[in-house]
């Protein structure tokens, strides 16, 4: 058998390679650069790498070949394993922006009095002498930056994977560093480690489902590549049950990653336990990447089997919205509340995903489901990043104070920070003139246009519930008279410019996308459809 050298289109995928390269260099730095300099070198390297990759993404985006009168653009690269098309590049850009915010939050050292929010020495058991030693001598893990870069690499790979194996590899590459990062909190370490273990076990379990789904789908189609699977779905009617089981199993794996009910139960624990900068990065980044993968898998590989998976997504979307919205109402911890709200947002996003229609069913200039989901993810990413960044600022003597009781009357003590948080919440609630509103409008519209009115009705009802728990936090911050026996109250710590910048960018994006969403919607429209 002859070995044929694979052709790799470096010009198209160099931002991916760059991110991967920076991650590897980061590992080398850990080995060779003295401890005292590592922090600076690692942060600058990670930041510069992401910015360079972002520039590269823009350059790649400008050079994409246009197909079929602009309905799609890009190319299938690396022997058919990677699709570098409009949506993929859009996802890359979005993930990189979120990652940049993540790096800035990771590097914040002012809030903890000169050290980062990560454990000084992760190997030291909580509560032992070793731990005290580590924190006294000011140790900190700078491995978090390479880990972050590996996760970013996986996230970028995820939405552009064009066969099932690449998809699985990307899934693992993005997940493993995150499992680790979740367990690295400096404070409340047991909670953090528990979160990491939970995330890992459940994640590994869902990967098992996913892999089984890959096998079954391969059994059906005789190929891993999306194009071949699509071909098989169109022509082959013999082994329908293999296909259905395959779709189901693959869905379990992917829906676990986005935190859709009934695979959502890890979300609140992990969001709460993980260091807040990680939560911010993970909540935004993982969801964006996983929705990219879901969209491509369902639209490209199973696009012709729409009638099978759309009803399933109807049920999952409704269930997810109900679970997220209802359970968020009873939370008393800010991070858990945001976690449940992110579950509800998953449901809203799925509402957009199931709104897919044939291009011929859409009238000229009508919004497409791809456009709606891309826009929603953009607004969601910025709002989540901003909201969690604000959570890192609100502290009491034992570190971050995320319980509601501590937040009482925050609006009186620090009107600016409380006002910012309120604004992010209003955006998540979908109040007009914020980005969240336009996002919500877009996903509901495509779903209604595709005839999914029961889902839209459920989404509206859940939105009403969601408004309640968001507004309740605003009441808590601004209108509650603090009881004399309220105990210790949180105050706002002054962050360095890193966290402030992240919040400012999140705020600016939320305002601008709310008032003039046109350009980004047009950009999402120009990204076009997936390349098959």
């Amino acid at each position: 058998m002859d070995f044929v050298k694979p052709t790799i289109e470096y010009a198209d995928i160099w931002p991916l390679i760059l991110v991967f390269g920076v991650a590897c260099v980061g590992v080398v730095i850990e080995a060779f650069v003295p401890r005292a300099h590592r922090f600076l070198v690692q942060t600058v390297l990670a930041g510069a790498g992401i910015v360079a990759a972002l520039v590269g993404t823009v350059m790649v985006a400008r050079d994409l070949t246009v197909h079929a009168d602009g309905a799609a653009r890009g190319a299938i690269d690396v022997e058919g394993t990677l699709a570098v098309d409009g949506p993929a590049v859009f996802f890359w850009g979005l993930i990189l922006v979120v990652a940049l915010g993540g790096v800035l939050l990771f590097a914040e050292r002012r809030l903890e009095g000169g050290v980062s929010a990560f454990a000084g020495q992760a190997a030291a058991l909580p509560g032992t002498e070793a731990e005290r030693q580590a924190s006294k001598s000011g140790l900190e893990h700078t491995e978090i930056y390479p880990l972050l870069m590996f996760a970013v690499f996986g996230m970028m790979l995820f939405p552009s994977a064009n066969d099932l194996l690449t998809l699985f590899v990307a899934l693992e590459v993005l997940s493993l560093p995150l499992y680790l990062l979740c367990g690295l909190a400096r404070r409340r370490r047991l909670l953090s480690q528990e979160a990491a273990l939970k995330y890992f076990l459940l994640g590994a379990f869902s990967s098992g489902f996913f892999l089984y789904g890959v096998a079954l789908t391969y059994g059906f189609a005789g190929s891993m590549s999306y194009a071949d699977i699509n071909e098989a779905v169109r022509n082959d009617l013999t082994n329908q049950s293999l296909l259905l089981l395959g779709i189901g199993m693959l869905s379990v794996g992917l829906l676990f990653k986005v935190g859709a009910a009934p695979f959502h139960s890890w979300t609140p624990d992990v969001y709460q336990g993980a260091p807040t900068p990680v939560t911010a990065f993970m909540a935004a980044g993982t969801k964006i990447a996983a929705f990219g993968a879901i969209l491509r898998l369902f639209y490209v590989a199973f696009g012709s089997e729409r009638w099978t998976w759309q009803p399933m997504l109807w049920v999952i979307a409704i269930l997810t919205m109900v679970v997220g919205a209802v359970l968020a109402v009873v939370q008393t911890d800010m991070k858990r509340m945001l976690a449940y709200s992110s579950i509800a947002h998953t449901g809203f996003l799925l509402t957009g995903v199931l709104g897919v229609q044939q291009a011929t069913d859409l009238s000229d200039g009508e919004i497409t489901s791809m456009q709606a989901v891309l826009f929603y993810l953009t607004t969601y990413g910025f709002a989540m990043l901003g909201a969690f960044a604000v959570v890192t600022l609100v502290r009491d003597s034992s570190g971050e104070a995320s319980t509601f009781a501590r937040w009482q009357g925050l609006g009186r003590r620090s009107p600016l920070v409380a006002g910012l948080f309120a604004f992010f919440l209003l955006s998540m609630a979908g109040i007009p003139l914020t980005a969240g509103f336009v996002g919500k409008w877009a996903v509901f519209t495509v779903a209604l246009s595709a005839g999914a009115w029961p889902v839209v009705v459920a989404a509206i009802l859940c939105s009403i519930v969601a408004v309640f728990f968001y507004v309740r936090v605003i009441v808590l911050m601004f209108f509650v008279d603090v009881a004399p026996d309220a105990g210790e109250l949180a105050s706002v710590a002054r962050p360095s410019v890193l966290t402030s910048a992240t919040i400012a960018v999140g705020l600016a994006a939320t305002v601008v996308l709310g008032v003039v969403p046109g350009p980004v919607l047009t950009l999402a429209a120009n990204a076009g459809q997936f390349l098959r």
């Binding site: 200039g365 246009s449 509206i460 939105s463 507004v471 209108f479």
Partner: protein, 515 residues
């Protein structure tokens, strides 16, 4: 002059005022400076409103139009315009806000007055935009945006329990708003199916939609407006809100913001879904009648003055809705007039009640008596405002009430008969309220109570003047309103039954048939 984007200026002035007031240096927070700045902006806005009124040409349809593409992919425009209905609402809004400012001068003292005045100006800006919007998306955006300042006005200023009242208010309004969102989305889908998606009112009016779609979308719009107006059974936020909020806030809410509900019924329900509006009249009129009678009974049973006044509005909004959905010219014109007159009358009532409560330190009717001995001017003005509310001839509300009653009897005799009881019950709650609080022997504890001072008089006297002037001479308003109502009803496709009552004797050229 006519090239100036007057409507945009009208909206921008209070918005800028809100920002300026909010951003004044902290040191000036407790001085009178923020209030003076806010009042100045409110007066400038009022002046712009008057300029618009002078530019307005009766019978020329939608005018002073502005149109710019806003969100192209969604077919959304920043489109403004004003017709007779819009003009009335805009004038009501620009007139009431300065009045509220003067009356609430000390209301927020000690609680960050700059915030109160800034939020109020923001509320005014959004409300004006609602009344001028001719694009459904723009309307929806500002419709919801009004809630934020309203929420902070209720939640930030007022008495014990205001936080929960604000939450209840917001939940009701946002709930209605989200139902409206579903309908707005539906409009996009229908309009996209018909060709190019567009949210312009003028495009939507041409839209040919299926009966099923039209009815569902109508229901969505109507539910939101029923919450807003409010009508039975979605009215329960009203009394709680007016009880806890300051009287000034209540004026802004009940007299301006709630008008968006009935305004929307006319502009959007009748304008975009004429067929469905006609289809729904029996149900809507039933709800209106229940609101009229039930609201009045609830008002009679109240022991809190502010709750009582809030619930009278439920009854009045019933009348307005009844007039709208009777689908006759008298009903339409009557209900638009009613919206203005109710705004003026109820504002006077709220503000005077506020003065009274400030003096007595309680809002409970059972604890107030014999005020007319100590404060005769207050009592007298309160009586006039009350009489206007119950529709005494010679005061402006009478004109609108009689027009609505004519329409009601025109629709069916029993509808008129039920509506009439609302007027009788209004006499009960107003006069009984007056009797219990103002008459009776003087209370020794009231020695220190003073009558209205100059500032307080300056606020309410213009309202009193308006009540009397428009009671005797409603013609200018009718002239502005009638063409709008005519074209709206033409759009719905109903014509009046043979004339029954002449509604205007002087100006034959502009009023409709029936002289």
């Amino acid at each position: 002059m006519s090239d100036l984007p007057l409507l945009t200026i009208l909206i921008v002035v209070p918005l800028v005022g809100a920002l300026v007031t909010a951003l004044l240096p902290k040191a000036s927070r407790e001085t009178a400076l923020p209030k003076q700045v806010a009042l100045a902006f409110a007066l400038v806005t009022a002046a712009v409103g008057i300029v618009i009124a002078t530019q307005y040409d009766n019978g020329a349809g939608m005018q002073l139009e502005e149109k710019h593409t806003w969100i192209e992919p969604l077919g959304v425009h920043y489109a403004l315009g004003v017709d007779g209905l819009g003009l009335m609402m805009i004038l009501l809004t620009v007139a009431l806000v300065p009045v509220v400012f003067v009356a609430s001068w000390h209301e927020a003292d000690g609680r960050n007055p700059a915030a109160f005045f800034a939020w109020a100006l923001a509320l005014q800006a959004f409300a004006l935009c609602v009344f001028a919007a001719t694009d459904v998306f723009l309307f929806y955006v500002v419709f919801e945006a009004t809630l934020i300042p309203a929420y902070f006005l209720i939640g930030g200023f007022g008495k014990e329990g205001r936080g929960n009242a604000a939450l209840k208010f917001l939940m009701y309004q946002l709930g209605g708003g989200l139902v409206l969102l579903a309908a707005v989305i539906g409009l996009y889908v229908v309009s996209a199916d018909a060709g190019t998606p567009s949210y312009l009112l003028s495009d939507l009016q041409q839209l040919d939609m299926s009966t099923t779609w039209e009815r569902w979308l109508f229901v969505g719009f109507m539910i939101a407006f029923i919450v807003k107006a409010p009508l039975f059974p979605l009215h329960t936020w009203l009394a709680d809100t007016t009880e806890k909020a300051t009287p000034g806030t209540s004026v802004l809410l009940v007299c301006i913001l709630d008008k968006i509900g009935t305004f929307g019924m006319l502009r959007f329900c009748l304008g975009i879904f004429p067929g469905a509006s006609e289809w729904a009249t029996p149900v809507v009129i039933t709800l209106a009648l229940i609101s009229i009678v039930y609201g009045a009974f609830l008002a009679i049973g109240q022991d809190d003055i502010l709750r009582l006044i809030g619930l009278t509005s439920l009854s009045h909004f019933g009348f307005i809705t009844l007039g709208i959905f009777a689908l006759t010219t008298q009903g339409g014109s009557g209900s638009i007039l009613y919206m203005v007159n109710h705004g003026v009358g109820t504002a006077a009532l709220f503000l005077l009640a506020g003065y009274l409560i400030k003096r007595k330190g309680t809002s409970l009717i059972s604890e107030i008596t014999g005020v007319e001995h100590r404060a005769p001017v207050l009592a007298g003005l309160f009586l006039i405002a009350g009489l206007a509310t119950l529709g005494l001839p010679g005061l402006s509300q009478f004109v609108s009430e009689i027009l609505v009653m004519i329409a009601a009897f025109d629709y069916h005799w029993w509808v008129g008969a039920v509506a009439v009881t609302g007027i009788v019950l209004a006499a009960v709650y107003v006069l009984w309220l007056y009797q219990r609080t103002m008459t009776g022997p003087p209370v020794p504890a009231d020695e220190g109570i003073r009558d209205l001072d100059k500032r307080e008089l300056v606020a309410v006297v213009p309202l009193m003047a308006a009540l009397v002037v428009f009671g005797f001479f409603p013609q200018p308003m009718l002239d502005a309103v009638n063409p709008t109502v005519d074209s709206l009803l033409q759009h719905v496709g109903v014509t009046d039954d043979p004339p029954t009552v002449p509604i205007a004797d002087h100006d034959d050229s502009t009023s409709e048939e029936g002289h």
